[in-house]
């Protein structure tokens, strides 16, 4: 400890001395893109333990919507979705890892809020999952709406945004409830199953997953009210707009591909499509990729290797039994909407 302080001060000075020129000496105008290309690998911050978003399978391969988002960015930059290094981050060290440059992009089911964007030196490039706090009850109780939950005991994890959202919701509706705070996820589920609480509340994605893994899912019902907004998405450092564009348009390209019915299976046939939107997307026409500082076949590579947004959803989220809901395309009743690629 005693030896470390001067060393830290020294490194701080070195950082100041080297920080500025580093950002300027480049070819593409994006320090992050140059660093990623020089490294030959995208370093992607994920949770590493959230089913459906990022979780290693039995063979240790990272699976999930967030993990596939990383693959899509790698496919756009390198034309190879496997050039990704995943860094497992906790809720405590995720922002530091992004700020310090340990990761190039943070896709860690992180909620987009004003506070985070204004205070943390980071910005959100897209929302891959519109989540929100929901309620799960046993079907036997006959409850059909959250408005009927007056006097209920609710199992919730302490210190989460869920806890806050429930308190707000019940106060707003002049209802009373008794919170049962349990930190551990497995314990909270056991408590709900054993009847210690009437309601289990967390993000609706988590509730749907929990319901889908029960032996008889008809015993549980997810109430229709979603009482908070939790848009989860892609986060990058502020100050590198070109990198921000690449991450954002990677996500938009996947949405556009789904909208135009371009999938990993038919993308080769779609190359000869006459639809100008598809031709621009796949780089047959125009210089969309070049404008981003990438290859013109960037979106072709994303769709060919990772698939469109719907394919990612089916592979990672739908198998958990979570309905698409508002995460559907705007053309299908959801709010996932991509600006035109032209």
């Amino acid at each position: 400890m005693n030896i470390r302080l001067p060393a830290l001060a020294m490194t701080g000075l070195v950082a100041c001395a080297f920080g500025a020129p580093e950002a300027m000496a480049d070819g593409s105008g994006s320090a992050t893109l140059d660093a990623v290309k020089a490294r030959g690998q995208l370093v992607c911050g994920v949770a590493g333990q959230v089913p459906g978003f990022s979780l290693p399978d039995s063979q240790g391969v990272m699976r999930g919507l967030d993990a596939d988002g990383c693959r899509a960015v790698a496919a756009a930059v390198f034309g190879d979705m496997n050039k990704v290094k995943y860094v497992n981050l906790t809720t405590q060290n995720r922002f530091t890892a992004l700020q310090s440059g340990e990761v190039d992009v943070l896709i860690r089911s992180t909620t987009w809020t004003l506070g985070r964007e204004a205070n943390l030196g980071a910005e959100f490039a897209g929302v891959n999952y519109y989540d929100g706090t929901g309620f799960l009850v046993k079907t036997a109780t006959g409850v059909k709406s959250a408005k009927e939950l007056d006097g209920a005991t609710i199992c919730v994890q302490p210190g989460t945004s869920t806890e806050l959202a429930i308190a707000d919701y019940f106060r707003r509706n002049n209802l009373k409830f008794t919170p049962i705070l349990i930190e551990n996820l497995a314990e909270i589920q056991t408590a709900f199953l054993s009847g210690r609480c009437d309601v289990y509340s967390t993000d609706s994605s988590g509730l749907a997953t929990f319901r889908a893994t029960q032996p008889t899912k008809e015993d549980f019902v997810l109430l229709p009210e979603i009482i908070s907004k939790e848009p989860l998405g892609y986060m990058v450092r502020k100050g590198d707009d070109k990198w921000f564009d690449i991450v954002r348009w990677t996500y938009f390209a996947q949405l556009t591909a789904e909208e135009e019915d371009v999938s990993s299976k038919n993308v080769d046939e779609q190359m000869s499509s006459t639809n100008p939107d598809i031709r621009r997307l796949l780089g047959v026409e125009g210089d969309m990729g070049k404008a981003l500082g990438l290859d013109n076949k960037w979106a072709y590579n994303i769709v060919k290797q990772v698939g469109n947004f719907g394919e990612m959803w089916d592979r990672d989220i739908a198998v958990l039994g979570v309905p698409r809901g508002i995460n559907n395309l705007w053309t299908k009743g959801g709010i996932q909407y991509a600006p035109p690629i032209r």
Binding site: G48, G60, M62, A186, L320
Partner: protein, 377 residues
């Protein structure tokens, strides 16, 4: 009368009354000595048998060993229908390689497997006193070099595996082994420094180091290493996360071990040091030949206690996102296909930790006995 008897041949040695020796006698003396003791024995015996039977029933008789594959991986419906009446060992069958080796590339996992075997062989060789020679140091250096070469790879047919893909048991063994091997010499130096009378600055530095480190939990040190430290470094120049955690563990273990060693130094009679000085030995020779061998022998039990504690404390690296053995087990459980089968996974993890800790404990016990015998000679 006694004289008359003893005049004949030595009488045959009288046998003790029936039922006071042998297993029956032991039982009678220790378990059924009085009616109170008998009642307690019976009551506890009933509880133990019931528990054991319940455990065997759950773990072996009604257990589910395999499950069929569903469209999206293993289908644990059979296990769930048991409703906890029987263990579901299929979760171990599906996840054991992830639990042991984490995210290490699946087809290359023989490499960390060999490394674990090498570590165990190294421990076994070091435990044998016949090997306590200078060559042992070379053996350690050589084996560790081989272990890291295997883990990293990047030469010949071996694909390069960066250390953030390492996980599971090798991580636990690396953190614990390096933590203790590096912390032990550090601890001896700090303990000596803290007792130094001629070098007040060194003494104060050692005291500050020990008190500062002991004053904060290991978790906060790991946090500093993983969260605070990178902020001071220039962008893109981050020492590796594993290395940062390793240094934090070494610093922490060093402070605790230093206090254990200092206890040994203090317990040694002053006469030993004075006698060594009277022989004209220099400070370092005195310390190496007279003081330390005796002081360390005195503190074997607390040393091993600290070693065992640290072996298990390495699991705290989970909070900075390194997948050691325990964390790999927890992550395996996060798979929705297997939620609710925590007991099985934790039992296996406990068995692995127990094997290592129990081996350490037995070894230190044997060492104490041998060293005590040497002293009595």
């Amino acid at each position: 009368m006694s004289i008359a008897l003893s005049s004949g041949a030595t009488p045959a040695r009288e046998r003790p009354p029936l039922g006071t020796t042998g297993p029956v006698g032991w039982l009678r003396a220790n378990l059924f000595g009085s009616w109170w003791s008998t009642a307690l024995t019976l009551a506890l015996g009933y509880v133990v048998v019931r528990f054991l039977w319940g455990f065997i029933d759950w773990a072996l008789i009604r257990a589910v060993w395999t499950v069929p594959m569903g469209p999206h991986g293993p289908d644990a419906t059979i296990c769930r229908q048991m409703k906890g009446a029987g263990a579901c060992w299929a979760v171990i069958g599906d996840k054991w390689r992830f639990i042991l080796f984490g995210q290490y590339p699946y087809n290359e996992q023989w490499r960390p497997g060999i490394c674990v075997a090498l570590f165990i062989a190294l421990y076994a060789a070091s435990a044998n006193r016949a090997f306590w020679r200078r060559e042992l140091l070379y053996l350690w250096l050589g084996t560790l070099a081989v272990i890291f070469a295997l883990m990293w790879g990047g030469f010949g047919p071996l694909q390069f595996v960066p250390d953030d893909q390492w996980g599971g048991l090798p991580i636990t063994l690396i953190l614990a082994t390096f933590g203790l091997v590096a912390a032990f010499p550090l601890a001896i130096l700090v303990a000596l420094g803290r007792r130094s009378k001629e070098l007040p600055v060194v003494r104060i530095l050692c005291v500050v180091y020990v008190e500062l480190i002991r004053g904060v939990p290991l978790i906060s040190l790991l946090f500093m290493a993983s969260v605070l430290f990178p902020l001071f470094m220039p962008e893109g120049l981050n020492p590796d996360k594993l290395l940062r955690a390793q240094v934090a563990i070494i610093l922490f273990a060093g402070a605790y071990l230093a206090e254990v060693v200092r206890a040994g130094l203090q317990a040694l009679p002053k006469g030993q040091s004075e006698a060594a000085e009277a022989l004209g030995l220099s400070y370092w020779r005195k310390t190496r030949l007279i003081i330390l061998p005796q002081a360390l022998r005195l503190v074997i039990p607390p040393l091993v206690n600290t070693f065992i504690g640290f072996f298990k404390d390495t699991s705290l690296v989970l909070i900075i996102g390194i997948y050691d053995l325990l964390t790999a087990g927890k992550v395996a459980l996060a798979d929705p296909a297997w939620t609710g089968f925590a007991a099985e996974v934790y039992l296996v993890l406990a068995a692995i930790y127990f094997m290592f800790c129990f081996a350490m404990s037995r070894y230190s016990h044997g060492l104490e006995l041998r060293l005590a015998a040497a002293r009595g000679r």
